[in-house]
């Protein structure tokens, strides 16, 4: 089954049809996608800026991570669910644009970076987050996260513009 067939199946499913036929559902889902973005991308942006050293440099990284995590994860859950619903509605036209597969690839990269950070630094964070010089890798992970998630948002915003052709 090609990606196009798969997306066609999603669009033809009862959920896909229901979403497309409702006047309010699509804008509502898109609105929720945008608002949850402030929780997911917005809070991860602040976390990345802390890792890089631009934001609240005197606050322990572990504190920022642990206190924002529940909000950030909740945000990501809503962003992903609403994003998935938007895929149902848009269907196979999404593969007409190169920007959608790139967005998915960037999400994968950002996710892998987060897992790598968690495994490599997350568990020992209490040891290093009060030191002035914390592991270089942690800072790099912050930059990668900042770059990849920003590009994810850019790609997402570009979809409607590149989709028309």
């Amino acid at each position: 089954m090609t990606p196009r067939d798969f997306l066609q199946q999603l669009q033809d499913s009862s959920l896909g049809v229901a979403l497309s036929e409702s006047i309010y559902m699509y804008p509502l889902v898109e609105g929720l996608h945008l608002i949850s973005l402030v929780f997911s991308f917005g809070l991860i942006l602040l976390t990345d800026l802390r890792l890089i050293g631009f934001f609240l440099p005197n606050a322990p990284v572990s504190e920022i991570l642990s206190k924002l995590r529940p909000w950030l994860i909740s945000g990501f859950v809503v962003t992903f669910v609403t994003g998935f619903l938007l895929v149902f509605v848009n269907g196979p036209t999404l593969v007409n644009t190169w920007v959608f597969p790139i967005k998915l690839l960037l999400i994968l990269l950002a996710g892998l970076n987060a897992v790598w950070f968690e495994v490599k630094f997350g568990r020992r964070i209490a040891q290093w987050d009060t030191q002035l010089q914390y592991p270089k890798g942690a800072k790099i992970a912050g930059w990668i996260s900042l770059t990849t998630w920003s590009l994810v948002v850019v790609c997402g915003r570009l979809i409607p513009y590149l989709n028309a052709h």
């Binding site: 804008p27 608002i35 402030v38």
Partner: protein, 159 residues
């Protein structure tokens, strides 16, 4: 001069016409700056309001969070204002009959009033009245997120 002729005059102005005739790439770029500005403004607003609700970065003082997030908000403000004007000017008369457009700016006006009265007052005190802090946070978040949703709706509401 009432609003509609003003919108029309703006759309017919030389600057607006030259923006409208510019490469569409600039229009897309404006959209990107607009969403970047939205995140740069709303992420700090969310962080401070969570703190007012007693959640998020509770070990930091309210004043510290406000101070640390101010540069982000101002950067976002510059992004969102100029990209917004860039998108608005060439189609001003088209936005005039759009109810979502008006809803957005009514909510923006309310959000700014809350921002410069209640929010400013509550975030200036280290231990604000709990009920007042919660009320401020709920009002502020509802209005700011409302501005975002109404903005997103502009494209869906037939003019």
């Amino acid at each position: 001069m009432s609003t509609q002729p003003f919108f029309q005059a703006l759309q017919n102005s030389e600057l607006a016409i030259s923006i409208g005739q510019s490469n569409h790439l600039y229009g897309v770029l404006a959209q990107l700056f607009h969403i970047a500005g939205l995140v740069l403004i709303l992420a700090p607003v969310l962080l401070v309001n969570l703190r007012l609700l007693g959640a998020g970065l509770t070990n930091q003082s309210i004043a510290q969070l406000v101070k640390a997030t101010n540069p982000l908000i101002w950067t976002g403000f510059v992004f969102i204002l100029f990209s917004g004007l860039f998108m608005f000017a060439p189609s001003a008369a088209l936005y005039y009959p759009n109810p979502a457009f008006w809803l957005k700016f009514q909510m923006l006006a309310l959000a700014l009033i809350v921002q410069f009265t209640l929010y400013r007052k509550v975030t200036a005190t280290e231990k604000p009245n709990r009920a007042l802090a919660i009320l401020t946070a709920i009002l502020s978040l509802t209005l700011w997120f409302g501005v975002g949703i109404a903005g997103r709706a502009i494209g869906y509401v037939a003019a």
